[in-house]
């Protein structure tokens, strides 16, 4: 099970109301390589993967939910004071007409999240390579959003999240090595 802790993993600040940045950022909320996809992908893979890497998948999957909450906080803070006119001008008119200011699991283009974004192959190496690719894609997406953003407070949080993707990718690559080593040892004896 999980326990909720009433704190963000890293402080989230935004300089000013900016619904257009929120529109870009929603990619990391409900997009293919976003935090929801990441959390659900890793936690779902745990049941069929060798015991040696279940701890890592559990912990990174759990951290992804903390990142999802940081993204939600950013989007909430960027939009909470926006007028309907500002939402419309930022390209969020369609979002506003359906959801008002509510958050929704969708990508930057407004496409709802789908389980088709994630796979579960049942092959440990295939699954871990997908995880590594997912982390690298998420890292790249953070970089593109940072490039689009001129909000120094927001970018501080985004840079933290970008660095986390690098660490996760590193740990998943170590997990691959652990499984390959274990497989080779079984062949010898």
């Amino acid at each position: 099970m999980w326990y909720y802790e009433k704190k963000l993993q890293y402080p989230v600040k935004v300089s000013e109301c900016n619904p257009m940045l929120a529109k870009f950022l929603i990619e990391q909320y409900g997009g293919a390589d976003g935090e929801l996809s990441a959390a659900l992908r890793y936690l779902n893979q745990r049941y069929s993967i060798p015991d040696k890497v279940v701890g890592l998948l559990t912990d990174i999957g759990t951290e992804e939910f903390a990142h999802l909450e940081m993204i939600a906080t950013m989007v909430y803070k960027l939009t909470k004071d926006a007028t309907p006119e500002q939402m419309k001008a930022a390209g969020l008119g369609a979002h506003y007409s359906n959801h008002d200011k509510a958050l929704y699991y969708e990508n930057a283009a407004g496409t709802p999240w789908t389980a088709a974004y994630i796979t579960a192959k049942g092959d440990p190496i295939a699954d871990l390579y997908e995880d590594i690719a997912a982390e690298e894609k998420a890292r790249a997406t953070y970089q593109w959003i940072i490039n689009l953003s001129d909000d120094p407070d927001l970018n501080d949080g985004l840079k933290f999240l970008r660095e986390r993707e690098i660490i996760h990718s590193l740990r998943f690559r170590e997990a691959v090595e652990i499984l390959i080593e274990e497989r080779d040892r079984k062949k010898i004896f």
Binding site: K7, E69, I167
Partner: protein
């Protein structure tokens, strides 16, 4: 809506976030390096530090964790603001 929180709330919370980040990083590292004795020692030391900081924070600002992992005051104060996105 969230009520005004004192400056000390942010300072203490920040300290907890820092210590808990060290713990999270060490946890992921130890998941793939389970034989690193020094890292485990650091992990246990920071775990102790995190508990101490949280006891102090909770005495002033209420429970950090739900489902009984933190104590409650009277009346039940788990649902009190601010929530993390409100600060």
């Amino acid at each position: 809506m969230a009520k005004q929180v004192p400056k000390e709330f942010y300072q203490l919370l920040r300290e907890i976030q820092e210590v808990d980040f060290v713990l999270l990083e060490l946890n992921l590292y130890l998941d793939t390096h389970p034989d690193d004795y020094d890292a485990i020692e650091q992990f246990n030391n920071f775990s102790q530090r995190s508990r101490e900081l949280k006891i102090n924070f909770e005495q002033q600002f209420g429970p950090l964790m739900g489902f009984g992992a933190s104590y409650s005051n009277y009346p039940f104060d788990w649902g009190n603001t601010p929530w993390p996105w409100q600060v």
